[in-house]
């Protein structure tokens, strides 16, 4: 990720007056303001911080020495340096189980916070990031002292940021997590209520946390209430958290009509060519020794696993939520911690979002990386989405230094299938055109035909 060289506040860190994030050089710090002193000290001294960091639920940090902390702005109590997250991802890029795990982690944190006399004062989905396969809270300032009788301030945010999108994905359509791109503060509950099927009203938790919640919001939208007059017992608050947790645990999603075991076996590879392709990927990684890799069309992650198993962090992008779900579940089951599976449509990659388009980074802003894999991808971009080859090459060159890219000719059965229902207007989709257009941005270092196929793999280096 490109970062400013001098001391600069992070553009997306401005809502909470308790403190803010800033970069000094390429190092990230968090300033804790004097106004948050009491809560921060309680977090550190109550045993909550050590318990949460030990359980990998909260990002660990160390407190900076006064000399470093002198870079802080006025009103600073302390400056802390949080552990670095390899890649910042967003909920519109997560699969179902990633969002579900993030929701359960948030509730687990809230339960443990209550046990230590604290409570989460916000429950933004953007405060959760993935370290390995663990969803981790990255906002150390999300805690406040719990006062007996106090309801959960972040209940509305939790329902909008976690429960509503998960219920929509589970009961209506998996693609509805893309609503996060439009609604920065989570899915409006009246919208979720309208989109959900009537049968969700028969479940108490969904009736109350979504449908009646939406009605109550509508009912009180123009009338403020005196919150100082209303309290909630600890037993009731604990029961509410337990109910939210049970509701989320019960939510499931599987691709319709398929079984995970045989999902994504629709390829035209022989075992021999598949193994040969794996060997070429391994050779490529060995040759360019990248620090980080993006697999731009990772499918269920077979080739990304080769990268991750060498100890190199790899973000495994795919357009298909089902493929990303399977990749994530496989990584979790096999404890592969170097792979981060994410949903991304390369024809419309994640844009910069939020206030002044600066709160959430675009995909390109989170790069470039040392190396990219673009396996069995270019024909989809060129033939399904009509993107000219030179534009594909230019885009790839903005993402990486080293590129392993596969060219699939028109004679290949998968390409024939893509062209079966449309007119072939792609006179310039040939191997010669491919090499000419990519040579404008990359130097072709190596050409390797994949055994038992008509496909070719190219190792390229950005010019």
């Amino acid at each position: 990720m490109t970062q400013p060289s001098s001391t600069t506040a992070m553009p997306g860190s401005f809502r909470d007056p308790s403190g803010f994030l800033f970069y000094h050089g390429d190092k990230l710090y968090r300033q804790i303001n004097n106004t948050y002193r009491q809560h921060y000290d309680l977090l550190m001294n109550s045993g909550l911080y050590s318990e949460l960091t030990e359980k990998r639920l909260l990002i660990p940090h160390h407190e900076e020495r006064p000399a470093t902390a002198s870079r802080a702005a006025s009103g600073a109590y302390k400056v802390i340096a949080p552990e670095k997250i390899p890649f910042i991802s967003y909920p519109y890029e997560w699969c179902f189980s990633q969002l579900k795990d993030a929701a359960l982690a948030t509730l687990e944190i809230q339960k443990r916070a209550l046990d230590h006399g604290m409570s989460l004062k916000d429950s933004s989905v953007y405060n959760i990031q993935f370290q390995g396969n663990n969803p981790v809270l990255i906002d150390t300032l999300s805690f406040e002292q719990y006062r007996e009788g106090q309801p959960w301030i972040a209940y509305r945010q939790f329902c909008q940021h976690f429960l509503a999108p998960l219920v929509l994905m589970s009961y209506r359509d998996i693609r509805l997590n893309q609503l996060f791109r439009i609604y920065i503060d989570g899915i409006p509950l009246d919208l979720a209520s309208k989109l959900l099927p009537p049968r969700t009203r028969l479940k108490f938790s969904l009736l109350s946390h979504i449908h009646l919640h939406a009605k109550s919001q509508k009912h009180y939208e123009n009338s403020g209430i005196n919150t100082s007059r209303r309290t909630l017992s600890r037993v009731a608050l604990t029961a509410l958290i337990a109910n939210l947790e049970a509701s989320i645990r019960n939510l499931q999603w599987k691709p319709a009509g398929t079984e995970w075991a045989n999902y994504y076996e629709d390829t035209n590879y022989t075992r021999e060519s598949f193994d040969h392709k794996k060997k070429i990927v391994a050779d490529f990684i060995r040759a360019c020794s990248p620090k980080t890799v993006w697999d731009l069309g990772a499918n269920t992650g077979e080739f990304a696993f080769i990268v991750g198993d060498k100890g190199i962090p790899c973000v495994a992008f795919d357009i298909d939520p089902a493929a990303v779900e399977k990749c994530y579940l496989d990584c979790r089951a096999s404890n592969r911690t170097n792979i981060l599976p994410l949903i991304n449509d390369l024809t419309n990659p994640s844009p910069a979002l939020g206030w002044a388009n600066e709160e959430r980074c675009s995909l390109r802003e989170r790069g470039p990386v040392d190396a990219c894999l673009a396996l069995a991808l270019v024909h989809h971009l060129a033939l399904t989405n009509n993107v000219p080859l030179d534009r594909i090459a230019k885009f790839f060159s903005s993402l990486c230094t080293w590129l392993l890219v596969e060219f699939v000719p028109k004679s290949d059965s998968q390409v024939r299938r893509l062209l079966a229902s449309r007119e072939d207007i792609f006179d310039h989709y040939t191997q010669d055109d491919f090499e000419r257009d990519f040579s404008k941005h990359f130097t072709i270092e190596r050409r390797q035909p994949i055994e038992s196929s008509e496909r070719m793999l190219y190792t390229m280096r950005r010019q």
Partner: protein, 81 residues
């Protein structure tokens, strides 16, 4: 459009809200995010209901346990005779 069903639901929510307001006590809340009036109210209603169920469950378990103990003591007493 307000259908009779919607109107009934709104009235029901209002009635439950009224009861809960009456049962509430003073406490100040500080937060930088908006808890939302409607969200605040529904949270108190739902949590109070769930907390009540939880209390009944605990109470019921205690009654069952008490009854079991009572009868088992009675049985023991019989066998010693």
């Amino acid at each position: 459009m307000n259908t009779p069903m919607n109107l009934f639901s709104s009235l029901s929510v209002s009635a439950i809200v009224g009861v809960i307001i009456g049962l509430s006590f003073p406490m100040t809340a500080h937060a930088y995010i908006d808890a939302g009036s409607g969200s605040y109210i529904i949270q108190i209603i739902v949590a109070t209901f769930l907390g009540g169920l939880f209390a009944i469950k605990i109470f019921w378990k205690k009654i069952i346990l008490f009854a079991k103990n009572l009868f088992s003591k009675g049985d023991k007493h019989d066998t010693t005779k």
